[in-house]
Symmetry: C2
Subunit: 331 residues, 2 copies
């Protein structure tokens, strides 16, 4: 499926499914609406997939990894080699995302990229489209394998720098407002990071109305892959659980290419990385969790997947007032 085909295949949510789900939720043995956002999640899952009484979906976290040559500018607390070392850690099962994915019964699929960006553009336009299409293909393959819920993850030393640049361009916020400490740079490192991004935006002038141009100028291969995964999942009517700041920046790219994507997104958590607030505001998403996370990899997405599973169990496994013989409200 080409990128254009995926963009064209995304449809609005199923409003009949949404209404049906809400009707059932209101018949369950609990005060109306008293399971709050779990009820919203369940209804949204039905509206996205069109499955009226969905089985508990198999979930997969797709974690995209890529190098960022911008690390040469001293924007990260860790050396660039850590990206590849962490990919090995993912494959051996020792990383945070492995532990938390297993906790919610999700599998982890790791997709490494290989190219760098520094003082020249991050990639060519053809490379950006190819990376997006790899993401689309991975989403379609996962759905073909029976995955009903896709989580996004990232690994890339330097990628909060790229994400801050993307966020500044696509939200219109000042660089200093959307740039945080990433893996933990000190004040001098943070000032350097802001200066590097401001300089790159002045030099490359990414076009905010052309998300592919933004990827080309200041993106990263993992960010392009995640954006493609989102488009592919939406085209296949499967929800996407976002992780934190990097996958949020990728969602800005995806929503820029097809605004209907937003309806397929669930924000798992609000990251400590400060640019994430601007991302979620632009996407009009309210995060499920606020646990001071800033690891990435898909760790927050795992916790969000656990909540979707809980929500679907509420919808499909709780007794109704009739079934349980419980009196209804009198007041």
């Amino acid at each position: 499926m080409t990128l254009q085909d995926a963009i064209a295949a995304v449809r609005p949510l199923d409003q009949d499914g949404l209404a049906l789900a809400k009707r059932r939720l209101d018949r369950l043995t609990k005060p109306l609406g008293s399971l709050g956002r779990l009820e919203e999640l369940a209804a949204r899952y039905v509206a996205i997939t069109g499955e009226e009484r969905p089985p508990i979906p198999r979930a997969a976290i797709v974690t995209f990894a890529a190098d960022h040559g911008v690390t040469d500018e001293g924007v990260s607390a860790y050396p660039r080699a850590v990206t590849a070392q962490m990919v090995l850690n993912f494959l051996k099962g020792g990383a945070g995302v492995n532990v938390l994915a297993a906790h919610v019964g999700a599998e982890v699929r790791v997709v490494p990229g290989t190219r760098n960006w520094a003082r020249e553009p991050a990639m060519t336009r053809e490379e950006a489209v190819r990376a997006l299409e790899i993401g689309v293909t991975l989403a379609r393959e996962a759905v073909h394998d029976g995955i009903g819920l896709l989580g996004t993850g990232d690994m890339g030393i330097g990628n909060t720098t790229a994400s801050a640049a993307i966020t500044a361009v696509l939200t219109g916020q000042p660089v200093a407002v959307v740039t945080g400490r990433g893996t933990g740079v000190d004040d001098a490192g943070l000032a350097r990071k802001v200066a590097v991004i401001e300089q790159a935006l002045r030099t490359h002038r990414p076009d905010p109305t052309d998300p592919i141009d933004v990827l080309v100028k200041v993106g990263g291969f993992e960010i392009a892959g995640i954006a493609g995964l989102i488009l592919g999942a939406a085209a296949c009517r499967r929800p996407v659980m976002l992780d934190g700041f990097i996958t949020g920046a990728a969602a800005l790219i995806a929503a820029g290419l097809q605004s209907l994507c937003r309806e397929y997104l669930i924000a798992s958590h609000l990251s400590v990385e400060r640019g994430h607030q601007a991302v979620l505001k632009k996407l009009e998403l309210r995060p499920l969790l606020d646990l001071d996370l800033r690891l990435g990899e898909g760790t927050g997405a795992c916790l969000g997947i656990g909540l979707v599973h809980a929500a679907i169990k509420v919808l499909t496994q709780m007794a109704t007032f009739d079934e349980a013989g419980v009196s209804e409200r009198t007041l």
Copy 2:
């Protein structure tokens, strides 16, 4: 174990265990502190139990149910009979707490009470102490059965009224500030509820320095049982996952009897029921979740238990930098 024995048995947390847990968390393959509140949860679990590398604890939700005669005053949207009907629903496995407890692998233990309160005090002092001691005993039995993590739950049409009365007395906040819509009363019902509580406080004058007197005057049997469960769990060095407003009001009683209890408490979520904010502020607890829940039963506690399990898995299952051969920070 008598109530006085339980109160005397509660000790401060193990600070050496806390330091050991933090040291290990800092060796795991992730930026320092980047799993935020999951790291805090894991360290606190170690400090509470003294287990340096704890197994994933078996968890139980203990849901206390009781009637409240104050429902005669028209303070609830549902008839009083629903309490007993819902106990049957719990036993048949069709309620929200059953579904969400199963989701996190926890068992549900249901403890029904039988007495009412209306225009006379809720119970005698002897009854209050007996209900507290039932809670202590249930906690000790659960720990003896191998339960490592206790969740609290409640069921009782009318019990947001009792909880609002307790919260007003023990936090000093005005009744109107801590009284919410419970199962969903309308504006007239809410005004009636506030008036009923204000009248009861004027008539009975519960002594805020004597938590047992507060239970006697405006409490409920399930609230006394939950308070006892908290004291018993703390005496046995086991953490207690609070649910929402009712179990929070019970925690105010427990903390009034033994302030060290607070260190053993984890607040699973912030309820929509408005008095809950005042409860958590008084207990100095920050809720893990904010999902617009207001069902009670222990449903929020279930979701919190899932996060504690995730946190302990992070502590005990993630690879360290040395084990994974990942480079450490350079900046």
